[in-house]
Amino acid sequence: MSTSANLLFIGLPGSGKTTFLAALWHVLSDRSSATSLKLTKLGGDRAYLNQITKEWRECSQVLRTNLQAEQVVVLHLDGEGFGAFDLSIPDLAGEAFKQQLSDRRMSRHHDTFVQEATGVMLFLHPDVQKGTQLTVARRLEAELPGAHEEAAGAGVDNTWSPELLPTQSKLVELLQFLLERTQRKLRVAVVVSAWDLVDELGAPHEFVARELPLLQQFLEVNDELFEYSVFGVSAQGGDITVAAEKQTLLELDDALKRIKVRQEQQTSQDVTKPIAWLLGNR
């Protein structure tokens, strides 16, 4: 492959893009675990990476990227079958993608990243907004006597707005924006973040098929436009807003143990795996 590659992280606010980046930098700079990709050298301005990784190591909430603080990080990497290469990853604010959906426009700045992207990582948090249909809810209530009445109605403004789009529709739309702006076939790694919350419910691709069927169909049938794989990534290791869980994570003898990456039935701590998949065999 070429000696440089560019990844594009896309996802809504809170979908885990920056946390992934922080865990990635910890693993790469730690160099003690077996990973598909390894850091060849430090270099460049690492202030941003060091800042977000410090927060990650202390189990503090990694600050969400805001529109003014978008950074491009460059990693010098090597891996079996890859050779040495420089990987650029812009850490784009989830807010920017939210704005694309509501304002129906993309900044030229973002468009440049789209044009240059070697691969795309689509992040989503498992707590998806499902857009449950009243028809389905009422049917379930009829089938399951005693099922609780949904708390619909109480004080909800029933005016529609694009904000109310279910997660799957938002993500399909973000991918359609990419397709609108690029001519190349895209390789997409779908990353379900906070995977520890849903790991017991099956493999990552099963999660997407069950919780986001519109997105799953869209990725599957557009095989001339996409090649995709789904990963479950637990980069934080647990819910750090719960004091006891945070304490447990801090007491681990190696912070690497916080990380879990699942693809199909295989689970590892190799957080570089989605990136290696995106860049492999090109």
Binding site: A137, A152, L165
Partner: protein
């Protein structure tokens, strides 16, 4: 090279970057399409146009919304979702059937008799391997629009695009049909709408026309008398329209059946209906569309959108 440039050759000044390089790139709106925007899709690939017509409350928008709602849950009628230029438009008409709307019971936003008719786009791929992608445009229109077209040339011209319809579904309000005081009016309204559609020259020789009795669950719940009246209505329509409509068929559907009426058929017959609505009539019939030269491409329209994605996914049937 500057040295090679002849002295009399004028060097063109570069365009100011600020004017040609705006900070933002416009993306497609995602809203329901106007006839002009819908036409762009039809010019790029063979698109199946399905038009739902019916009296107010007959279930036109509900049928349209239900098709999208089924795809939200997985493959539907043997098709998988491959994209849409109108996701926001679909979401808006589905809103009143969402928990997030705050409503207690499913509802549908009524079709507004706006100045322009609106179109909803779906790109679909049959579930079987190697099947090619299809583009479908769906539209829900008030019967009033066709009555107006009958009376006014200007209104008739607004329906020009609709004359390309591959399928016209005339919805007969099943709820009214099941109500003794309203059933004759419901029958007459539907017949009048189909008359108006025919008078407006909407129906090409290759167009499939289906009379769909909606809200079947309400008719069934009303008992045998309602079912008998439905059968009589069908018989009446058959006699009245068969001669004028070469591809006439009848169907009974419940796009959003009440929970109590749902048994094995969760989609209320909508899946079978959708397959028929998106299937061309047999090729032995004269297809007026195929006999005509391809429409000219209007570059101004194309410049409004990238449409690269559609270019790349274009598949001729």
């Amino acid at each position: 090279m500057a040295d090679a440039v002849a002295a009399d050759v004028k060097v063109k000044e570069p365009e100011p970057v600020e004017e040609t390089d705006p900070e933002f790139i416009e993306l497609f709106s995602g809203a329901a399409l106007s006839a002009t925007d819908a036409e762009v899709i039809t010019l790029r690939s063979r698109t199946h146009l399905v038009v739902f017509v019916g009296a107010e409350g007959s279930g036109k928008t509900t049928v349209l919304a239900s098709i999208y709602e089924h795809l939200n849950q997985g493959a539907f009628a043997g098709f998988k979702f491959a994209g849409s230029r109108t996701l926001l438009g679909f979401e808006e008409i589905c809103h009143l059937n969402r928990l997030a709307s705050g409503g207690a019971q499913p509802d549908t936003q009524r079709t507004r008799l706006t100045d322009e008719t609106k179109y909803y786009h779906l790109a679909l791929r049959p579930a079987e391997p190697a099947a090619t992608r299809r583009d479908v445009l769906l539209s829900a229109m008030s019967g009033e629009l066709f009555r107006m077209a009958r009376d006014s040339q200007e209104d008739a011209e607004r329906l020009t695009f609709l004359r390309r319809a591959d399928t016209i579904v005339v919805l007969v309000d099943g709820e009214r049909l099941a109500t003794p005081t309203q059933r004759t009016s419901a029958q007459a309204d539907a017949a009048d709408i189909l008359e108006s559609v025919l008078d407006a020259n909407m129906v090409s020789r290759s167009c499939r026309v289906e009379i769909a009795f909606s809200k079947l669950d309400r008719i069934t719940a009303a008992g045998q008398a309602a079912l008998d009246f439905l059968a009589k209505t069908q018989e009446k329509f058959e006699g009245k329209f068969r001669v004028r409509v070469p591809h006439l068929s009848f169907r009974r559907i419940a796009a959003r059946p009440a929970p109590s009426s749902v048994s094995d058929n969760l989609d209320g017959g909508l899946a079978h209906a959708f397959v028929a609505w998106t299937t061309l009539v047999p090729s032995s019939s004269t297809d007026e569309h195929l006999g005509q030269p391809a429409p000219t491409r209007d570059d101004r329209e194309f410049s409004k959108f990238g449409w690269r994605y559609f270019e790349r996914t274009r598949r001729d049937p």
